[in-house]
Every structure is written in C-alpha cells, then in structure tokens.
C-alpha cells in the first residue's frame, strides 16, 4: 500500500481557469487529478444541449483538456476523477476514447464510467409508489412541478468510482456525483478503507470539501490579509497529500502563487456550510467540529482529528424544472445627483410597466454603487457620488411580458433623466429560469452502474 498519495484539484466549477489542471499535471508530482464540473443547475443546461444534439450533454471543456494532458497522465500513471459526464457520460467517455486513439494511446488507458444517477425515466414510477421527492427547502411534493421538470439526478458518492478504479480505470467519468466523492474515492481505492470506517471516510470527505472549489482554498477569494497574498495571477490550485490513517496535508506546487495558510483553509471549511456536525454525503456524515489544523511548513497545513458518523439511508436528488422567465436591464447615471437620477428613472420605468399592464412575479431594483451588495447596511451614499448603475430585474411566467420589459430600458436614455449612458450591450436578453429542486430518495432505489471501457 502506498503511504502517501497526492490528489490535485483542477477545476472548482465548470468555467474555472482552463489551464489550472494542466499546471497541476506539469507543475510537480501528483497521483490523482480531480475535476469538479457540476454546479446545481449545470445538469439542466446539459439536458437542453443533449435534446438539441444527442452527442452533447457533458462538460465540453473536459475533452480538449484530456487531449492535452493524457500523454503525461499515461506516462506518469496519473489517474483522473471527474464528474464531467453530465447527462451523457457515455458520450463524454467516447470522445475521450477517440482522443486517446488519435494520440496513439489506444490500449494504454482504460476509462471507467459511472451511470445510474439519472432518474428521469423512472420519475412517474417513483411518484406512483409514493416516493414524493418533496422539496427539502419548502416541503412541497414534486407533483406540483411534474410537467416542468428538465432533469433529475441522484448524487452518487465515492463507492462507484472506487469500483471503477479497482477494475483498473485510469480515467473515471461520472454524471451527478458529489464533489467530495471525487477526492475520497482515490483514498478508499489506494488505502483500502472499509465502508464503515466513518472517521476516515469523513476525513476524505472533508479533504474533498477543502479542495473542491479549487483556488478558493489557496488564496483565491481570501479575505484574510488579501493584499499580502502573493502572485494570484499564477495561483497554485490546492493538493491533498493523504495518508492511510486519514490525516492529510493541504499544499500546492512549488513556484506557484497564492498561499496555503490556516486562515485560507478555515475560510474554505465554512464555505456553504450548514450544521457543521452534520455534513451529509452519500458516504458518511462528517463532523466539522472535530477538525484540527496545524502548520507543517510553508504552504503546508496538516488536517487531523476528524471524526464522522454512519451515512444516512438517503441520497440527495437534484431536480431542475422550468420556472418562468427573467431579464435584467442596466443603465449608468453620472454626477451630479447620480443617485437621485437613477431613482427617478426607476420610478418612470415602473410607471410605464404599470401602464402597459405588464404583470410580474417580482420586480427588483438595485443601485449598483449604493446598495446592490449590502443593502441598507451600506448607509446613504455620498452626495457627490460620481456615478450609479440602475439595475432592474423582472421575473414572471409570461415570456411576452418579460420580453416587453427588455424594450423599455433603452428608451429611458432619450425619455428620462439626463447624464445617462451604459447601453452599449443592447437590449437585455430574456432568460428561461431553470430552478433547482433538492429532494431525498431512499438509497435502495438507486443502483449505480460501473463499466470500464478499453481505448
């Protein structure tokens, strides 16, 4: 058994720095590269893409990335875990296999795929058996939005990925798998942890939580002494150096920017946290109040002491449904009286919307430069504020009403208060709202499917 493995984070979300995973592979020794592509509503975007093109529906960036790094990964035995498969895991795997063949690597790399997360084909059957898939936040049963559903996927944990690795996969591609599972799976595979070793499973889960947002653990978005953070332009993404006993060190490659310090790790630990004693994943319930941190050298923070409890009997399900339309329009008002002018423009706009008889579920006005982030906590603006951006958003079920709203912004330039600009972008775009519906499903309802494909 290896006594230490290095798992590197390459993407904090779909759209993160394109070269970060390449730097993780080229910048120093690593054993695994984990790539998190799926935010909560990403699956619905992919579902739409697949509806238009049956070969689409996965994180497109992943394929050219693999083309770039596959030769180095094969040469050095670096394995990859990625939830890049979206709603078309097989399509994604086939594209990677094609790349491997073109690179002359046929037969040298095996691709593991994990499916079984998609429950769209089974929704009516599940509902008819009384599995209501109630919204975890609002308590409403799913039947209230049944006809608007676009995607529904259970979050799979680490174990199906472990199975793929055990069967010899070098690249593991999943659909809706937890971000933390992408980091935990390599540890289970390498160290042979058992499925009731709750403390170590929790340790691996917390390691995953720390690195799953990429550079947010290594100096990105770090409030602590932010001016002192070195060379964010070349920020090094975090790496977990894991040991069989469940302790680990967070570090990054040498000669990269950013920093690994206890405050940056603490900031990431509390990110998107609920009850710290109950960090629930398919694999365990991790207790964040047991985490201990200490320095082990420059850009090295040791994490130890982690305890956890048995996993629950449920899996979380991420459902997306169509929830109407929205649009946001902006204009910029300049000194003098910038804020007064922006407020006047808002009143005029609202009066016009009213006269047009347009109805919306919500109309929100923000004044960027005055209150868009901190609301009334920001206090009144300076009297001589140089400029204010008026930002008005509407949301409703009637696409035509939202469309009409988008045509009422530009006219304010010639028919409203003076010293106004900032309309170079043209009319605002109407966006279809795809909303997120979190629910729980009994674990026994979901059967993950693992396959290992040859190239």
């Amino acid at each position: 058994m290896k006594q230490k493995i290095r798992i590197a984070a390459g993407q904090g979300f779909w759209g993160d720095l394109l070269d970060a995973p390449v730097r993780q592979v080229e910048g120093g020794p690593i054993d695994y590269l984990m790539l998190d592509y799926l935010a909560e509503v990403t699956m619905s975007i992919m579902q739409k893409q697949k509806a238009r093109d049956p070969n689409a529906g996965y994180a497109k960036d992943f394929v050219p990335l693999m083309r770039r790094i596959l030769p180095a990964c094969v040469e050095r035995g670096i394995k990859v875990t990625a939830n890049a498969g979206g709603v078309n895991v097989r399509g994604c795997a086939n594209a990677v296999i094609e790349s491997a063949r073109e690179l002359g690597l046929a037969g040298k790399v095996r691709i593991g795929i994990v499916t079984g997360d998609d429950i769209i084909p089974r929704l009516d059957e599940l509902l008819s058996r009384g599995i209501e898939l109630r919204n975890m936040d609002t308590g409403e049963p799913l039947s209230t939005v049944r006809d608007k559903i676009q995607s529904a996927n259970a979050y799979l944990g680490a174990w199906p990925m472990v199975e793929a690795l055990n069967q010899g996969a070098q690249i593991v591609i999943t659909g809706r798998a937890t971000d933390t599972g992408l980091t935990l799976a390599p540890m289970i595979h390498e160290f042979g942890w058992s499925n009731d070793d709750w403390n170590r499973l929790s340790a691996g889960t917390i390691a995953g939580h720390i690195i799953e947002c990429g550079a947010q653990a290594s100096g990105g978005n770090c409030q602590y002494e932010w001016r002192s953070i070195p060379n964010l332009a070349e920020v090094g993404f975090p790496i977990v150096e894991a040991s069989p006993d469940g302790t680990f060190v967070i570090t990054k490659h040498e000669r990269t920017g950013g920093w690994i310090i206890i405050p940056s790790i603490k900031e990431q630990l509390v990110y998107e946290m609920g009850d710290p004693r109950e960090y629930i994943t398919p694999d365990c319930v991790a207790d964040f109040t047991t985490i201990r941190l200490e320095y082990e050298g420059r850009d090295r923070v040791r994490v130890f002491g982690i305890e956890g409890r048995p996993a629950t009997e449920f899996l979380k399900v991420s459902i997306s449904y169509s929830a109407g339309f929205k649009a946001v329009g902006t204009l910029v008002y300049a000194w003098p009286d910038a804020y007064d002018k922006a407020q006047a423009a808002d009143r005029i706009l609202r009066r016009r919307l009213e006269r047009l008889g347009l109805e919306f579920d919500q109309v929100l006005t923000e004044f960027v430069g005055v209150n868009a982030t901190h609301g009334r906590l920001a206090g009144p603006p300076r009297a001589d504020i140089p400029e204010v951006q008026l930002r008005v958003g509407v949301r409703g079920q009637d696409r035509n009403a939202v469309e009409r709203f988008t045509k009422e912004i530009a006219p304010l330039i010639l028919t409203g208060p003076p010293a106004v600009t900032g309309f170079a972008g043209g009319r605002p775009k109407v966006e279809e709202i795809v909303a997120y519906w979190p629910a729980l499903i009994p674990k026994e309802e979901i059967t993950p499917v693992v396959e290992v494909l040859n190239t």
Binding site: Q223, V270, E272, I291, Q362, T373, R376
Partner: protein, 113 residues
C-alpha cells in the same frame, strides 16, 4: 467600548437555495469568546433586518474559532430564481463584518496590543 467585527474576524459566505451562510472566523484565538458572546443569532437577525426575511441559526466551531450562521429567506428566492446581483450571497460575509460589538476595556487592550 464598541469595535467593528472587521477588527476581530474574517468571513466567507455562500448559498444553499434561498439561505445564505456566513462563516465568521476569529482573527486570533482569544477573540473567539467575544464572537460567541456578542454575535448571537438574535443580533445577526437584527443586523440583517430587511435583508434576511427568515430565521437566523447559529452553529459553533470552537475547534477552528468560528461561528456559522444560516440566514434563511435572504436571497430573493435563491439560485436562478433570484434577481439579485448577489444571488449567491457571496458578499454577506463582509456585510456581517460591518456589525459593531461591545468589548471590555481589557479585550480592547488585547485588540490594540
């Protein structure tokens, strides 16, 4: 005397649906008891009046000198439903750091010393 939380803590915030979470982290270990004493769920609810329309929950993490707050009904519906610039609650962290808290003379001495 009163000091602003920026002198005692740093923070990071994020979202889960329509709930914003704010993790408030003591800049030094000795400031953590001040956070526990002063930054109660009630005071945070009051601080975010008009912004947070639901309950505020508080959790303690003494092991890392941090408090975690859940501010329910704060993000205009949350996720893609929200029309807010900060639909993900990313700036609730510094909004909380605007809060003034009461410290004793001795604590104030620690702060400047």
């Amino acid at each position: 005397m009163k000091v602003q939380l920026t002198k005692l803590a740093h923070a990071r915030s994020g979202d889960k649906g329509d709930t914003a979470n704010v993790g408030l982290i003591a800049l030094e270990e000795k400031f953590y008891p001040i956070l526990v004493r002063e930054v109660t769920a009630e005071r945070v609810k009051e601080h975010f009046k008009g912004i947070c329309h639901g309950e505020v929950e508080r959790f303690e993490l003494p092991n890392i000198g941090a408090l975690n707050f859940l501010l329910h009904e704060s993000l205009g519906g949350g996720g893609t439903l929200s029309l807010m610039t900060d639909a993900q609650g990313k700036t609730f962290s510094t909004a909380l750091l605007r809060m003034d808290v009461e410290v004793t003379d001795q604590e104030a001495g620690d702060l400047h010393g």
